[in-house]
Amino acid sequence: MRSIRDQLRQAGLAGIHTKLLQGRRLTFEDGMRLYRTPDLTAVGYLANLVRERKCGATTYFVRNLHVNYTNICNKRCKFCSFYAAPNSTDGRGYVLSPEEAAARVAQYAGEPVREIHMVAGINPKLPYRYYLDLLQAVRAARPEAQIKAFTMIELAQIARVARRPLAEVLPELKAAGLAACPGGGAEVFSDRVHEELFRAKLDNQGWFDVARAVHAAGIPSNATLLYGHIETEEEKVRHLLHLRDLQDETGGLMCFVPLAFDPSRTELSHLPVTTGYANLREIAVARLLLDNVPHIKAFWIMITPAVAQMALWYGADDIDGTVSHYEITHALGTTSHRQVLSTEELLDLITEVGREPVERDALYNVIEEPLGVRRKG
């Protein structure tokens, strides 16, 4: 494409283009440039070069279920509309027993689910045994699905209630059914943001300590970035570079997921909703800086199916899944109006924009023979 060369030059991105073609790694300054240029197409073009080099037109999707086993949480993060404080008396707080969680995943027995995504609040009353029982019960209810569960924050809590080092606890969780970790709770690796928005949560160093232990135990994970609140561009670039360093060290990251902050019903409800530009740019910059992370996910629940579809040309190669029962972000009107997409709708989104859908499990193994799904294109 000849037209893009002028555009890259005008956007000040020609040097980055050259680096990419030579397979050289991008710097902090490159990251800042990618955030600051108004030319979203040029950034998308560069991200797509990397995306197509890594996996061509392949776009991963998963048939998944979400289980949020408790909303009781003692962290009081300002950006969260999901939690109920442990001492609150408004009746909103709940805990699913292992049997209830198992019954919930069994509800969707007719659907060929491959991944069960399970995250929740930090509920100080839950004992170590609860987590093992939860994993075993859910696995017994859906043995064909892999369980991707527990943010780094929850894992730190599990080790705390087990009163043992995390390195000892992880093999037990793995034996009980834990296949992968979703990597959430990273928010933004900035002491300033941590202090202001999620002071009670595991600090940034703590997140990395847990992630290292998880990867060392042979459990792969994702990583996230919560953007669109009070973070700066510098903080986002540093966040991504910290993750790149971690990945150089452990190789345990499967996928990076930029999470668009939804201010509605949080303590930050005065903030505007993230823009379509911001949604595409976060995906593109992540694809470019995280050269060692295999996958970048466009999480359609947070950025709308329309933007997630476009993101498949701005660096994303994963569009998450059909998602049954998602409870963390409920906002109406600002993010996605819908919480569930059928497999057919998901396949249509992917094929319409010229990408090739490939079904995966939680570990990115390709499902060669999808169960009872009509493949298109």
């Binding site: 494409m1 555009q7 197409t41 797509n48 037109a57 950025i303 329309a306 924009v353």
Partner: protein, 359 residues
């Protein structure tokens, strides 16, 4: 659709050289171009036409003077048949109140549209427009071609006479609504009682000849083919060569919910963005491409600024036709300005003649 694909290179050469694209090339863009190609090329053309990087909008208000209509388009959930319950004609006092509210907010344009109501003849509009112009310094952007064609018929006037009388009474410009797809095979399926494509274009030709400018729309995503979309674009481009009277092109997607064609799948974000971009590339003689916030929402509406859009249309205070169909996006002025700035562009208020107004 691969970014490394060298196909479409000849089309790209023409775009870079500023040459006109053919029907076949338009079809190829729909079939083969990937989003980044379309974005890059449409951006290039937008910058060529609008080097100041301004994104304009007009502060206006829709006034749906009547919802009575006998046409019964399958995609419309706004109309009531003559004599049916729920039909209305707004009293003049109500219309004046709406205009005053708009002027108080700094608005400059009213969009007056309604249905084909057999009770309202030319005298009704002449009196209404004169009364408005006598009271308010406001631009009347009003009456779609279908309304004017019908009005001429029931008032026993030629279209030219009808338009001239409306113009003398105060009509300033015409919205390009009801163009739908300017292809009769499509019109017969989605709006069998509406005028033919030729009749719609003819009415616009006459209006332009009288010095009444207009916009032009395209409603895609119902039952048409890609070729028919391009046919629509080429017909619009041909008439523009002849008259120069079109100020802006406004593609919007068919909204199946609540219509008689609910089985049609709602067009995607990608379909909107590629349609906008290809419109920008094909319509080399129309200065402005307008976004459709109401049907696309703020996220895709903003991304469209990288796909050839340079105008945000009217910041809407009221839009009965689309909301009755279920699209509920309302974007206030401050939010429009934020989205334009967030995209690295400069917002500017304009009037209906696309002249920039002082900030």
């Amino acid at each position: 659709m691969r970014i490394t694909d060298g196909s479409l290179a000849t089309i790209e050469e023409k775009i870079l050289a500023g040459e006109r694209l053919s029907f076949e090339e338009g079809v190829r863009l729909f079939r083969e171009a990937n989003p980044l190609q379309l974005s890059s090329w449409a951006n290039l053309v937008r910058r060529r036409l609008h080097p100041d990087e301004l994104v304009t909008y007009v502060v206006g208000r829709n006034i749906n003077y009547t919802n009575v209509c006998w046409v019964q388009c399958k995609f419309c959930s706004f109309y009531r048949r003559p004599g049916a319950e729920g039909g209305y004609v707004l009293p003049p006092g109500e219309i004046f109140r709406k205009i005053q509210e708009l002027l108080d907010l700094g608005g400059t344009e009213i969009l007056i549209q309604g249905g084909l109501n057999p009770a309202l003849k030319i005298e009704y509009f002449e009196e209404l427009f004169r009364a408005i112009k006598a009271r308010f310094p406001i631009h009347i952007h009003g009456l779609s071609p279908a309304e004017i064609i019908y009005l001429a018929k029931i008032s026993d006037l030629s279209e030219r006479e009808c338009l001239a009388r409306l113009q003398r009474a105060g009509l300033d410009s015409i919205p390009g609504a009801g163009a739908e797809m300017l292809v009769d095979e499509v019109r017969e399926q989605i709006a069998p009682h509406k005028d033919s494509a030729a009749a719609w274009l003819n009415l616009m030709r006459t209006a332009h000849q009288l010095g009444i400018p207009s916009t032009v729309t395209m409603m895609y995503g119902s039952v048409e083919t890609v070729e028919q979309r391009v046919e629509h674009l080429v017909k619009v481009r041909d008439l523009q060569d002849e008259t120069g009277g079109f100020t802006a092109f406004i593609p919007w997607s068919f909204q199946p919910a609540g219509t008689h064609l609910p089985e049609v799948k709602r067009a995607s974000g990608f379909d909107y963005l590629r349609t906008v971009a290809i419109s920008r590339l094909m319509l080399d003689n129309i200065p402005n491409i307008q976004a459709s916030w109401l049907t696309q929402g703020p996220k895709i509406g903003q991304i469209a600024l990288q796909y050839g859009v340079n105008d945000m249309g009217s910041t809407v205070i009221e839009e009965n036709v689309v909301t009755a169909k279920g699209a509920v996006f309302m974007v206030p002025l401050a939010e429009i300005e934020r989205l334009i700035r967030d995209a690295g562009l400069t917002p500017a208020r304009r009037n209906t003649r696309y002249e920039i107004l002082p900030a």
